[in-house]
Point group: D2
Chain length 425, copies 4
């Protein structure tokens, strides 16, 4: 990923675009064919410092590049860049770099999905406590928890595929995007060779709404990363400790407190998510360029294009690693599930009372009282219920059955089928 | 749009969801059929103040609603909400409201597209100056300018269709999303009746990445609105004045300066775009809910769901109106095009010199000097070129042809075909 | 707070500004004095529907207001608004409403500070576990935790005082801010009467950087609210439960699970914080108005000015209430502190080893090993240390003293003095 | 500025902090004095690659640094970092780097102010057209336009001074901020030596609201830069061209169109402003760290602390340069002022009619009609007024005086006095 965003790669892509444009122009007979030999000698062999020295004088990056090529080539290359404008090169290059970055990011999302699928299936029936508002709610399975993340990243995969398509466009239509000095076939040729499609209608530049969508989807993916990271951080709190990030031998948690093992990977992912999300607004502010373009988007993209791709790449790789290597502590998971004195069964009792003829309102109240009593004083909710006068409508047999936690896993197969497709069996 | 977001509508949808869930449960034999009669009597007839009074006591909106239904019905409805959780109702309702809002927004985008298509085709060959960096560049046509916006809104239409699909989900899977107390067929039944699809895998709530995508696309659409608005504001500056917003008889521009006609609609659209864009980040911050859910997203969505839909709706309607009714001043457009003493032809001269054998570098320099000379002192660029010693390589015949501005419209048909499809002819 | 942002209040302030401007003009002899009688008859008595009907025609809010006043008054008021521009009224009114809102918000911050100070002092020496990364670190006191929040809100108080000062400006300098048709003494008079200061130098409007600062400080305060809310939510997790939000009799936690008591106030505050923070960017985007002003800021401020003030007000009041009424569970706090088998003392053992001559590196490693061993297998860290061969450098006497937790409170007085000032004793 | 944010500088500051802490501990008698000799040998002489190699193993930056110092020193330095935690070093270092950065930024703001003051005073009475909504409004002077920016940057200067003060804090209070293993005098000593003040009350870290304020103020300053940049871009549009950015000999505006001179510096500043503003939200999201700290802020600050300081520094220097060197075209300014056929005087005519006894409403209407008539057909507004039947209430003498544009500069001295203080005379 870093390689895509190196200066060297940029010049290579610029050269490739100029060469392809020349090829198309040669085919059209606009440009003499010998120019291609002169250009090809230069490919992949740039004196970056020299280019930058020229740029310092002309204050224009593409002109500096063209001047460099002109002075380095021993052929007549006056037809280089013929009829084109800088943004033809710059924007097509940006699209190509972003497209390649998306290829890598998609692979990384797949890695995250693989890790989630494997860990999810391994814990498919592992009962654990479900929590809403941070408070014990009802039993679920650990596999369901992870399967949810899998489904979210599967959505992100599809979103990124769409967003990648949006920016996989080529623009070789000249200074005003109206092909004034260029045949449209040049754009078609270059696009096809680079695996892009021609822009429908451009100004001097590719319209920035396309990129805004990409950065917005990056922001959504980052938010999903934050969601998983937050869950893992919570599960690693001392009082919970159902999960442990990989902690290598030799690693130190705190400079002051030798006993500490900290979920720093999850915290790091949380911070990185904030950064990737922060690129969304400037990318959107870039859309409203003036008239046929102004160049305010350029400084923004110099920051956010490499930073977003590299940061998101790093975060996804790190996340996949954590998911693959984290320790899931089944003992602790069971202990936490059993720590609530059975009040997690409150809804089952509520529904049993409704089945037995009580109004929902009355049932709710009596079960709430009984549960609160258990939490404050009692030893076990079902025992408490057993002795509760108002709850005697529930027969002992039914009460016994209520404690069977398999009840909560009856539809796990169904959900897994929907989430992973039939293949997972 | 406002109707969708009224309290009354909310309760109607809640009721519809509860009734549909009961219907499905009746089919399954879980719930006795008479409950449906009791519920149907209540439909569309809510005492909102009574519901709010109950909510003040129980501090829970759905429970207040259920209590209200219980006290208002003369039937035994203890099976109402059986096995369900509040979020089953809340999230399915939110999805439905957003889906309906999207239907309206899509229609509005179509209105914007219609206006753009009509005005664009009417000015298809109307030559005007193209500007980059706010500076005269080369001739384009006014139709191309508008066609670009058309293409952008066509993309936005497709994006919104996708985003609408993402949120058109139904969730009736209970407190932990694991169908512990409900058969999955209930969700399928309700979803199908409401024109939604069942959520793949839920926690207590529908995962918030779905909504984050919708608000992100809203933000992109707002940015596109800002782009058009900014263009129209620029074209209405006193010194440019190629366009005029509708200014009705009786309207006043300024309380102090009676001569003023201000592009306030465009400015208003710019401000509204900032607002819609501002909802993106909180929508993304909503994704990382804790564990199986926390309720922090709720207060955010109470603001941004109605505000984003209503504001975007208002902005799109206003934009369509401005585009439909704005005055395009052909005289002024021509005058501006002709005001640059012909230097807009500089690239044509540059390319003619390259054709004539001059290196691009030398040609650039000599044309640049000649253009600067024209701008600072001269009367007309082509005349200036004619008398320039270094430019004599260009034959007078070629020079004459360079002034023919039809050159700049040669590919307008091609671009319009791509933008509007073949149908536009 | 809601009253400040009602339409009625807006018109009252507009009227007050116009009347005060007339008073100043009367003093200058520019305007005849009888106008004041005509105006004063109208004060506090507006037909809002009529004003809105006029606005629908003239499409300008201030002109509609002036027309309404003209038609309602039975006096010659042609000198009303003499030499002024709409923004003189609009911006001075906005400043006044924001200033008044800040007065209320400052009171609310004081309420938060009072609650924090009281709870903090009551738990000044209450030992609890300090956590970094969600992991038990070393003992602190609960009072310190709350005192930190106090100090943060004390900073926010000062920041808001400064930000309030920034926006407490009056602008009566006409259409271009150059006092073309008005004597500067009019502005000085109105400012002084309203408790504002004259703007140093205005365009048509008060420069928007002033308001941007205010909304930025609102965003910081919201982030502080989120910090406290996050802490309280964490302390209320089932596994931690050191704190409990007020839960009134009759309140219901979940429509499905009667046993639940959820920290919904903290979660609600978290969501509200996201909203208030979201207003910062549009407020900053409002700064770069075009030339002497455009009106894009107006639609933004119609949303964010009331919404930010009302939301922040609500959040601060809610926060103060939670802090005042939350239950702090000393038993649970002690239990959590004691649950880590003594490894919290690891740094003390580390330092004791350094004191005894061991290198920091070696000491760190041996203590780390011993702590990990305790966490995985052992029963108590200090006992483990006692029997560890490498740790025998620490004498039994020193070891005994290490367990004395008063060690961790030795500087609490010092910190409280700094935080609350000497007064707290 | 770049130097402040180099790795080398970071290690130098870390070392300085550790040495100062040792000095304080030596004074207290906690630490033997010979350690200082061992440490001082190492100052300013770090093998960064070696430190990074250690960090790769221990996965902790400060521990890696301490290990490096331990292995590089030939003295017994086991008392190094005694009682401290990593954040004591990290946060104090961050504060110091930000404080130094602010020193530079304040100097840069002064440069901007100097340029604005000089250009403003040079054009103090240069009449130009004032524009609201991009539309000609009334005459102002060019100096007023620039003086407004001066006042805005003067405010920004004060804001940055305050924000700098907020973050100029030192934190040496150990792992939980409670001075458990350190005497508070250590912090006081280090703070005083570094020109910082001790944090009032810390957790493991300095509370992040302090930094959030700083980044928020950076965002406001960036927005002010955008405001000036937007103005300069507008004034450089081909149709306006009152101003020209410096364009050096050898510079090229466009690779395709040799005639172009583009306001790229203003556009670049606009883009950079978007970036600096984008750091505000993640800085605010950093405030709500969990409990006594989590480390999610760290990755965010690694990006935004150097990027914000360096980008803002670059932008301010660039802005000062543009303001200093831009060409102000007095001829064009006059031409634009005179291009509106005199309708800019409409308010004066309105007020003259009011003075002559007409109601404001009627006067407004007649002047509006007359101005619209002039703009659409007429040659000159005052001539038009002269012949208008309803306007004959204004005597010819008054009418003549209305054209005197000195009227609009009568209070320029007053405003300049307020803006620049009495000194400017």
């Amino acid at each position: 990923m870093v390689e895509i965003w190196e200066e060297k790669t940029k010049y290579e892509i610029w050269m490739a675009i100029e060469v392809l444009a020349c090829e198309a122009q040669v085919k059209l007979g606009v440009v003499p064919s010998h120019i291609l030999d002169g250009l090809r000698n230069l490919e992949g062999n740039f004196d970056i410092h020299r280019i930058q020295a020229i740029e310092a004088e002309v204050k224009h990056d593409v002109i500096a590049f063209l001047s460099y090529v002109a002075e380095s080539s021993n052929t007549d290359i006056r037809y280089l860049h013929y009829g084109m404008t800088s943004s033809d090169v710059l924007d097509t290059c940006l699209s190509l770099r972003l497209k390649r970055s998306c290829d890598i990011l998609l692979k990384n999302i797949e890695e995250v999905m693989h890790a989630l699928e494997a860990r999810s299936k391994a814990t498919k029936y592992l009962l654990c406590v479900g929590r809403s508002h941070g408070v014990h709610a009802e039993p679920i399975t650990f596999g369901l928890k992870l399967a949810r993340f899998y489904a979210e990243f599967a959505r992100n995969y599809q979103r990124l595929v769409s967003a990648q398509q949006e920016i996989s466009v080529c623009k070789i239509s000249g200074a005003m995007g109206n092909f004034a000095h260029l045949d449209p076939s040049v754009e078609e040729y270059v696009a096809q060779k680079l695996g892009l499609v021609p822009e429908t209608i451009a100004s001097q530049v590719i319209p920035r709404d396309r990129y805004a969508v990409l950065f917005a989807i990056f922001g959504v993916i980052a938010s999903s990363i934050e969601r998983v990271a937050t869950e893992l951080r919570h599960l690693q709190q001392t009082e919970v400790l159902e999960v442990a990030e990989p902690f290598t031998s030799g690693q130190k948690g705190s400079s002051a407190m030798p006993h500490k093992k900290n979920p720093i990977l999850g915290e790091n992912l949380t911070g990185l998510s904030r950064m990737v999300r922060s690129y969304v607004i400037p990318a959107m502010e870039n859309v409203a360029l003036w008239h046929e373009r102004d160049i305010s988007h350029s400084s923004v993209e110099r920051f956010i294009a490499p930073d977003a791709c590299i940061t998101l790449n790093f975060a996804l790789v790190r996340l996949a690693g954590v998911l693959r290597d984290m320790k899931i502590d089944e003992e602790r998971i069971k202990a936490n599930l059993n720590s609530s004195k059975g009040v997690l069964l409150s809804q089952r009792v509520l529904l049993a009372l409704v089945d037995a003829g009580m109004s929902r309102e009355s049932a709710y109240k009596v079960v709430q009282d009984s549960a609160m009593d258990t939490l404050n004083n009692g030893s076990n909710f079902i025992d408490n219920v057993r002795t509760h006068k108002l709850l005697e409508k529930i027969t002992p047999g039914v009460l016994d059955s209520l404690s069977n936690l398999d009840y909560y896993t009856q539809h796990v197969d169904f959900i897994f089928d929907k989430t992973f497709g039939k293949k997972h069996k």
